[in-house]
């Protein structure tokens, strides 16, 4: 995949980061991503990401677990191999509830985990470009994508003024699996405000 040019600004504190994100978006720059050492609440909304649909996927997986378990057990007990167990009914619905519940939870959890890894492009031996090696320690790293119109020097100054403690320019192959960010990032001026 083609390499792109990014301007990287590192922030030391999320209280500086939030106003900076707002300034950058108001100025019309395209935030590629912000890398943080922990889940900063509200940052996803601040950079204009839509809500994730992962939980919907989890619901669908759970529903399929319910139907597979209930359908499977009913088929076995009623049609495939009806057994007379102490004269009890062939379709003992209450006795099916525990396994149905467990299968629902199992399929939902496993399915969500696989979907999560797929969407986030996470797998063993995956190598990605890291914009800053302390993004997983204590730095909040804002990465801005340069388009043909971007004046790189202006942008660097802009980030420094917004409070970045360290600014640099990097060439990187950012989206090598599926171009999630290209689809989801919407410039602030083109989008309706979230809050």
């Amino acid at each position: 995949m083609a390499k792109k040019k990014f301007v990287v600004g590192c922030f030391d504190d999320e209280n500086v980061l939030f106003p900076a994100v707002k300034k950058v978006r108001l100025a019309g720059y395209k935030i590629h991503d912000v890398y943080t050492p922990y889940a900063v609440h509200g940052l996803d909304k601040a950079i204009g990401l839509r809500e994730t649909s992962l939980h919907t996927a989890g619901f669908i997986y759970g529903l399929s677990g319910t139907s597979i378990a209930l359908g499977g057990m009913s088929w076995v007990f009623v049609s495939d191999w009806p057994l007379n167990i102490g004269g009890k009914p062939h379709f003992p619905f209450p006795a099916f509830i525990p396994i149905t519940f467990e299968a629902t939870v199992l399929l939902s959890a496993v399915g969500m985990m696989i979907t999560f890894c797929y969407l986030c492009q996470l797998a063993p031996f995956v190598k990605k470009h890291h914009f800053h090696h302390r993004a997983t320690d204590d730095k909040f790293v804002m990465v801005i994508e340069c388009t043909s119109k971007t004046n790189v020097d202006d942008l660097k100054d802009f980030l420094s003024n917004a409070g970045a403690s360290e600014v640099n320019v990097q060439d990187a192959e950012a989206n090598w699996w599926i171009g999630t960010y290209d689809k989801e990032q919407v410039l602030l001026k083109d989008s309706k405000p979230v809050v």
């Binding site: 707002k22 922990y38 889940a39 990401l49 076995v76 090696h133």
Partner: protein, 480 residues
Amino acid sequence: MSLLRYESQLREPLIDGDKTYHDVTEDICRPIEAKPGKLWYVGFYISVALLLFGIYSVYREVAYGIGQWNVNHTVGWGWDITNFVWWIGIGHAGTLISAILLLFRQTWRNGVNRAAEAMTIFAVMCAGQFPIWHMGRVWNGFFVLPYPNTRGPVWPNFASPLMWDVFAISTYFTVSLLFWYSGLIPDFATIRDRAKTKFRKFSYGIVAFGWTGSTKHWQRLESLALVLAGLATPLVLSVHTIVSFDFATSVIPGWHTTIFPPYFVAGAIFSGFAMVQTLLLITRKILGLQAYITLGHIEAMNKVIVLTGSIVGCAYLTELFIAYYSQNQYEAYAFFYTRANFYSSYGWAYFGMMFCNVAAPQIFWFRKMRRNLWVTMFLSIIVNIGMWFERFVIIVTSIYRDYLPSSWPYYYSPSIWEIGFYVGTFGLFFTCYFLFSKYFPVIAIAEIKQILKVSGESYKDKMDKLEEDTVEAFAHATAH
């Protein structure tokens, strides 16, 4: 002064000392990057020795048959299933801390959830051994799985609580493992990114799955954690409920009671928290993590212990009352002759259980006792002994006098290989725990950073400057 407060002025801090984000990383990664101390090696080798003894005991049982154990015609479940229920119960505290407390937004869980969840996984691994090897012909163990086979096809009986157990425990193990691992990914990435040796960078790189800390990924991870917590909450209640069904759906006096599910779940959480206390008191001391697992954390867990211990005590008394009130002679025999009777063969187990589970934890009504490390350590072990007695009382005293007096056995006591098997699971548990404490971040690094500024001791003053802004100014700067 703004109405917005970053820090609660009333609550005790959850992170002691003057910490920055980088300090948190340093403190938690230090034990992983340093060579383990002498104590670690001593503990690890003892655990491995116990594990080897357990493996030999299991070998005896498989090679020579179930007769290597002293289980007999009426006491068919003996130590083996006692230990199974005990270990499964231990596991429950981890899920309670990681899932239920997440849903209730109890931020103190962030300091203890990683180790507690690891404990869950190791305890379920130990628990799983017992029903598997109890099968006797363990090479036919796959018969419990529902698959179209060449034997008919004969399917397992899906209406049997023993079958429910297979599903419940395998699901519980899988979901706990996924929940635990999803939280570990960002922390592995932290270790990878600060690794000094090539080998460490490579190996943690594999397990970190290429995590970068992207905002979108965090958003999805938070969503995943919340839904998994929502799923794990009813799951953890269902697991011990189903374990209690193994007994409650039978017609044996002493087992056949509707109080079993809630009583088992409360007991499980009770014993699990005791085990968490034992492990964390040692871990925080040896790894020097007192700033993250504070006295406040220990006190909070002791409160859970006194609550669940009292619930269990209520259940014991209810059982006794119902045995009297039902006027059922078999029920009364089980409770007033074989159990609550100083002169019966197993009266010692019943009164031991009553003392350890009901009387002893009441000491935690006193704040001073809840915050005393020695008392906590001692009580946590007492509680675990008591909970083992509980399972022993339920299983053995109910079946050593069955309906046919001619098959009433002599006094049941375990053989050396039964004991060896139990000791071996301690070996397995602690071998895993020692490896965990060396190679894994025992505290969730990212989750501690998340609460650092709202629960860190030093931030009570540091946030003052920000709190001086008016609400409007704050909202204006950060609104989007």
